[in-house]
Amino acid sequence: MDVFGDDAFNVPDSTDWLGTPLACLMPVEQAFRCHVCKDFYDSPMLTSCNHTFCSLCIRRCLSVDSKCPLCRATDQESKLRGNWALREAVEAFKNSRKVLLEFARTPPTIQAILPDQAGPSSPSKRKATELEGPKEEDPETKRPRRSTRSTRARAAELTAAILQEEQDTTPSADPDYVDQPPDDGLVACPICLTRMKEQQVDRHLDTSCPGSPQAASKRRPIPAQTSQPSTFPSFNSRLTSQTSIANQNQKPPERLPALAYSMLRDTALRKKLSELGLSTHGSRQLLEKRHKEWITLWNANCDSSRPKKRSELLRDLDEWERTVGNPGTAAGGGGGQQGLGLVARAQATGAQIKDKEFDGKAWATRYGGSFGDLIKQARKGIKRQTLDGNGEKADTKGEGGDGKEDITPAELPTLQAREGESSAAPTPMDIVPPSSPPRLGKVDDAGAEHDGQAHGKDAIAEDTAMGEQVIPGTPDKERWETSQQPPIPGDD
């Protein structure tokens, strides 16, 4: 239930404009929001059908089914093109949104008062004057701006002075500024910009024009490229220590091609993953999903004007793996302690049981017979079960006894009844403590799809290594058992 944080609810939304005099900005803001995530466009991309989505959103959609979410036209990730004009528009709108909203929410009666009629201490006056222009001194404001002292006369004077100064200095101050043609009676070649007599141009174009602007023609006009990111933050942690100049010269990261997974053997896929520095753990299916998600994250990041670092992307991948990818498991690569523990446990007990979507009833029906047998076995004696497991000696002091307690036969029906009542499946968050060996065996027998023995060993080893989780008899243990135990039909 962690997801139910305040953040999720306290979100800016296009409906913020409703009820203000600027309600007409709601459709404007809606136009700046992605139809998939409902957030402002992040690296907007154009589809072949001329719809726009966030890069990550559309890449995710297309990787699930290759159709535009809005019109269902077939499309491919490789055909996506950046919508840079929209990116700028969204940025500009986002930047001005707060001020606009504040303005819209200020009662209109106060706004109507002229600045010099309101008292100097009135906060609304400050707002009104701020919007009119830099005339009043405001020590609190964080915006750097040229303000004067209190009198309007001085303000006007200074504003004029600043404007004059700007007029005087701008053309020469900016080297990229479009140059005034020197008054030399010559004209510039429209292609190479070499200056020459007007009548020479035709001949020059036909014979000697080199085709592109030459270094000799100093200060050629350069169109302002505001949308071009000035630096690409280094993508590789090895390079982060290099100077910013090096970063500037660095090429933008290259997009990764999609793989035809059906053509790849397991080993080849693992190799690809390790080349990318990703975890090679998990089932074939998980490997494919992980690779696919990484490509999605990576390529979407390539579209961004402010790309994240590789380490950040790895964190995103890890988070994905813990939630969407395979609830209950986590990537080894970049995964923290929690991640490792989860991998071990999920492999030991079958990730699907922990899935929030897990259908307890159907599971119980399917494996009802096995469960019945297991309960009988358990009643006969758990001790034997604990001992005949392979290598489950790793199960150290206390654990064995604990295991016995955990699956006391009398307890099973209770658990099952509880599960049955509220058909709510266990949430991954509830599942904290370790897997105990007796249950490992049981779940395997019950038909979970994995080779439990080997993983079982690993699981115990890792859990033991992790320390924190092997404390027997903790309340967590109890909770784990409750949520982990699949419901058993009452046919016994």
Partner: protein
């Protein structure tokens, strides 16, 4: 740490819903970002649904909105399951919009409610889907795992 995709999107939807829903749709509970309850009413005078309110249960997975939510009608004392040739008497809805194929991430809770509203409005048949009894008795699957065959293009 980025907020989870699904949680972020649902937060935005909830925010919007709390600012108002179309007529005949009402939010009953949204205590978490996994399961929401909404009531819908049919607004015209269709005699099949006159004076009745129906409760919908939405369940969202971590992949929402890439994957569709699970939407079923739930039965309560004052909330019957609407009669419709594509709604089973246990509340399971056969609608391509809610299946993997028909779903699109641009859909939302609100748009699903409106689609269901109009699906009821347009219905004239006072009947359950064929094989309803058998299905309700035998089905142990979750709606998302059922393979529906969408044959009716008139809905």
């Amino acid at each position: 740490m980025p907020v989870q995709f699904a949680a972020k999107r649902l937060g935005k939807e909830l925010n919007k819903i709390q600012n108002g829903l179309p007529p005949g749709i009402e939010l009953i509970s949204a205590d978490n970002l996994e399961e929401w309850l909404l009531d819908i009413r049919v607004l015209d005078n269709n005699p099949l649904y006159l004076n009745d309110t129906y409760r919908l249960k939405f369940r969202f997975g971590q992949s929402y909105p890439i994957e569709p939510p699970e939407v079923v009608f739930v039965k309560q004392a004052d909330r019957p399951i609407p009669i419709h040739p594509h709604i089973y008497s246990n509340g399971i809805i056969c609608l391509d919009l809610l299946g993997q194929q028909g779903w699109s991430p641009v859909q939302s809770v609100e748009s699903v409610c409106m689609s269901l509203q109009s699906m009821l409005t347009g219905n004239t048949k006072n009947e359950r889907p064929p094989g309803d009894e058998e299905f309700v008795r035998a089905n142990k699957q979750r709606p998302k795992d059922i393979e529906f065959y969408y044959h009716d293009n008139t809905v």
